[in-house]
């Protein structure tokens, strides 16, 4: 059988489709669900532009078959903003720090750094740079990405502190 019926959650919404088993998750998101924020740069796992969150953990959408996402939960760049549509702290910091130029790598950086900040609200610059070794950017030189992450982390820590 070369097609399979799948049901999965993407950005909080449940989708059902019958798809070719060789369809990658990246192509499924882009062509079946029209969520074109997930970008395909290399299709062999190196550039990081296709990075999504699969059950909360970063994964390359180009190296995951869509059928493997059956009964799983996927979060893409389109799902990182707050439910009221406002940008996340990290997205806001990216905007303020000019952390994107062409924007091609940006979705992958945002999902990757979202995972980092979920696990570590006080990353050092070294820890941030280590976290993004799997994401390539040709435009920014990475510094503004690091700056935005430090800024977002400090704002998130302040928010936590203010609720205590």
């Amino acid at each position: 059988m070369n097609t399979k019926h799948i049901q999965l959650e993407v950005n909080g919404q449940v989708y059902e489709r019958t798809i070719d088993v060789r369809l990658t998750l990246g192509d499924f998101l882009r062509h079946e669900l029209h969520l074109t924020g997930t970008h395909l740069g290399c299709e062999h796992g190196i550039c990081g532009a296709c990075t999504v969150l699969l059950n909360g953990h970063t994964a390359r959408a180009c190296l995951t078959l869509a059928v493997q996402a059956n009964a799983q939960s996927v979060t893409t760049i389109e799902g990182l903003a707050n439910s009221d549509g406002t940008l996340s702290e990290l997205q806001t910091a990216f905007k303020e720090c000019h952390s994107l130029q062409c924007g091609f790598c940006t979705p992958g950086f945002l999902t990757t750094l979202t995972e980092l900040l979920r696990e570590n609200l006080s990353p050092t610059e070294d820890e941030i740079r280590m976290a993004i070794t799997g994401n390539l950017c040709r435009c920014t030189g990475y510094q503004p990405i690091v700056d935005a992450t430090l800024l977002a982390a400090s704002r998130l820590r302040a928010r936590v502190a203010s609720t205590q």
Binding site: M1, N2, K4, V21, R22, T24, D27, E43, H44, G45, G48, T51, L54, H57, T58, A59, R60, C62, L63, T64, L65, V67, Q68, T112, E115, M130, A131, T133, G134
Partner: protein
Amino acid sequence: MKPAPFEYHAPATLQEALALINTLDNYKILAGGQSLMPMMNFRFVMPDHVIDINHLAELSRIEQRGEKLFIGAMSRQHDIHTSALVQSLAPIIVQAYERVSHRQIRNRGTYGGSLCHLDPSSEQPCFTAALDGVIHVASAQGARTVPMSEWTSMYMTPALAANELMLGVELTPWKGAHGFAFEEYSRRHGDYAVVAVAAMLALRPNGTIDRVRMVLSGTSAAPCVLSQLQDAIMGQSREAALALVAQHIDQLPDVMEDAHYTSQYRRHLAKTLCKRALVRAFETAQ
């Protein structure tokens, strides 16, 4: 840049998986997919059947079995990297994972996948050899074990029959005080090693070497256990041991060469990294 057509199977149990590989031709096991999928996307491999073993939860245990550390084949590299058990029993493994690719790859990539893909520049076969790994495999007919020293059949080909599945690896942690170091050179962080070294040693009260293990990756199809160097530096002080490294690396037959890195360069790296690893292992052995 898209995979060629294939039949997809997702066995729910180990028995189902073993039955499938007992009968199917031209199949590939889909574990983490971080090595297989790039090859399929590029059509370097075009299996007729893809057998997705991600539902076999029994293959992802990380546990102590008596004096051994058992790591299941489907254990995610990130889970091994962050395992408190692994850190306490065999911290060289945690150090090795600092050099393995990137977080996104380690979230999905598996230990078994790396050992079956068997890239000569990979870190995971290297520490497996350093810890005297014994690989457990199974088929529909039964089960057997393969010591790591016999695991490499040829370049990027493990000694796994067509109807066999790797279940996991039993490693032998070192007991008592000992030093260790995993050293690697790669052009960018996360790249496969050009050369890597796993070094472990224990010292006598007078500070000389009582026990030592040194394994190279990146110089041959199988991880290279530096047996002659190990024998030569037994009972030696740190300075005497360091002085013996170069000649033993020079004596290694058939160091790998490819379009990117010559064998001469790999030998040079091996000497440098072996010395660095010994220094760090001596420091941590105190």
